[in-house]
Amino acid sequence: MSYAHIPIACLDGAVKRYGGLAALDGADLQLHRGELLALLGPNGAGKTTAISLLLGLVRADAGSVQLFGQDPQRIEARRRIGVMLQNAELPPTLRVGELLRLTASYYPSPRTVRESADLAGVADLLRRPYAKLSGGQQRRVQFALALCGRPELLFLDEPTVGMDIEARQKLWAAIRQLLAEGCSVLLTTHYLEEAEALADRVCVMSRGRMIHEGTVEELRARVALKRVRCLSSLPIDTVYGWPEVSEARREDGRLHIGTAAAEAVVRRLLDADPQLRELEVQRAGLAEAFTELTRDADQAAAANQREAA
């Protein structure tokens, strides 16, 4: 445990450009032994690129990328990882057992086919051709392939997309079991509850950079925002002047208000405009929280530029 502070995977100022577009623009990431780090962010934030760099699928234009202290394109480093990617079309005619046997053959000391299948809950599917499985079953098989090599570090890219609630819970349980055995996990997900259920640390990405890193509680505190919408003739400036309102705009004749104290705002709204209709209150989704975080980051960047000028 004395080595716990040394990262087993890290990005250090990693830059990756596709054409003129910087998918990663100086990204820093450290993953420590035994922890589960959730990588969150809107589409196009650079999550997949970050993972691709750590898996050695693409090379960084600048900065350093290390996996177990080595270049990820070295097979010795990758023998210690398991991988579940977002979209991999596996050979449709191969049976699940054959896929497991093939993937396990790449590793020095893999689990048995039976053990991997039990862990991922696919023991009843071993004789079935991959193409005949449902989407959720295919995801479970991919999870089995990820863990079959007894990895020290597991990369899970959106693992529960397409799964029903029960399958999701089972997968979470399996991930917890692997964590208990000392395996580390790097997880990307769109579901905040998934990060909440599993993650030790959360890292939010936007525009190729890490804009927030901390525990799940710290992230939740930033997502406490709620959305209030209604049809009202109240002027925006009035609404924006209320102390509880952090954001207000009009779209298609509808008022959109962001606030941490929805109850107080609704009370004021109803008092101020008796004609108010179609009132809705929603907890901000994770995507909105990202937008919020991203906007903060953008404003900070703009302010910096202004100062520099």
């Binding site: 040394i6 699928l57 202290g69 990758r78 991988v83 990617l85 596996l90 005619t93 053959s105 020095p108």
Partner: protein, 263 residues
């Protein structure tokens, strides 16, 4: 390496015993064969297309030209036939698997480098063997070609090994083009190259210019070897073999480099 191991101590062995690495190669080849045998729709047209071509132009149209012409056509259509599994079996499947994300997944896994390609290579060699056997069967039964067993064996061997330079070429094209664009591009290479190497009509019947540049094409050199195996080319073969080996190595290296670095 020493500094690395001291930074990240690990209980698991990072070194993989040679027997397990070999096992990975075998598993990969086995899976590759299994998946295509269960889905014959992909390989079957690739093997039957040149066989049909030979039946039409090499057997039915060429009946009156005598035994030597029939043997000549067997060799050149044999070369035409083995180019197909090399270029298409290899190039198209690679292009499709790059598109579908399978190759990305395999590159992220610690699959031994080359295992994936070796599996496909064995498949292409097997398919090339089937093509030659099909052509031999038609030539001997319908085309009135006379070959001794040694010549037939030599042609089969030439075909099965001769597919490899075209695997390398197909693979390189497969690394350049993703998905559905690959078959069209490969046709653009396959058909003109076959024609210009004298596989459809003997070279002396082609324009002078095409005769002069024919040695540029790998299929020309393979044709020389195939003709020799049926006893119709008494010249030196070493040069042709070397050209084919060189051609295969250059394209293999370029393609492997592209695959390893960019996928």
């Amino acid at each position: 390496m020493e500094t690395v191991t001291s930074v990240t101590p690990s209980v698991s062995a990072i070194d993989m015993p040679r027997s397990r690495v070999l096992g990975a190669y075998l598993e990969e080849a086995r899976s590759e064969c299994l998946r295509y045998m269960r889905a014959p729709g992909f390989m079957l047209p690739i093997m039957l297309f040149p066989a049909m071509f030979y039946l039409l132009f090499g057997v039915l149209m060429a009946k009156s030209n005598g035994a030597d012409a029939a043997r000549y056509l067997l060799a050149s259509y044999g070369v035409f036939g083995v180019m197909s599994p090399g270029l298409f079996g290899f190039g198209v499947s690679l292009a499709l698997e790059r598109d579908g994300g399978l190759l990305t997944f395999k590159r992220a896994l610690p699959m031994p480098p080359g295992a994936y390609l070796l599996g496909k290579m064995l498949m292409a060699m097997a398919a090339a063997g089937v093509v030659i056997l099909l052509l031999l069967a038609m030539a001997l039964s319908l085309g009135h070609v006379t070959l001794n067993p040694f010549q037939a064996g030599a042609l089969l061997l030439t075909g099965m090994l001769g597919v490899l330079p075209f695997c390398a070429l197909g693979m390189f094209v497969g690394t350049l083009i993703k998905g559905q664009g690959a078959p069209g591009m490969l046709q653009l290479i396959y058909l003109p190259m076959s024609f210009m190497s004298g596989l459809w009509f003997p070279l002396p019947m082609l324009p002078k210019f095409l005769q002069q540049i024919a040695p540029v094409w790998p299929s020309y050199h393979l044709d020389m070897l195939a003709l020799a195996s049926v006893g119709m080319n008494k010249g030196s073969l070493l040069g042709h073999v070397l050209v084919l080996v060189g051609f295969a190595s250059v394209f293999l290296l370029m393609a492997a480099r592209r695959l390893r670095r960019h996928g």
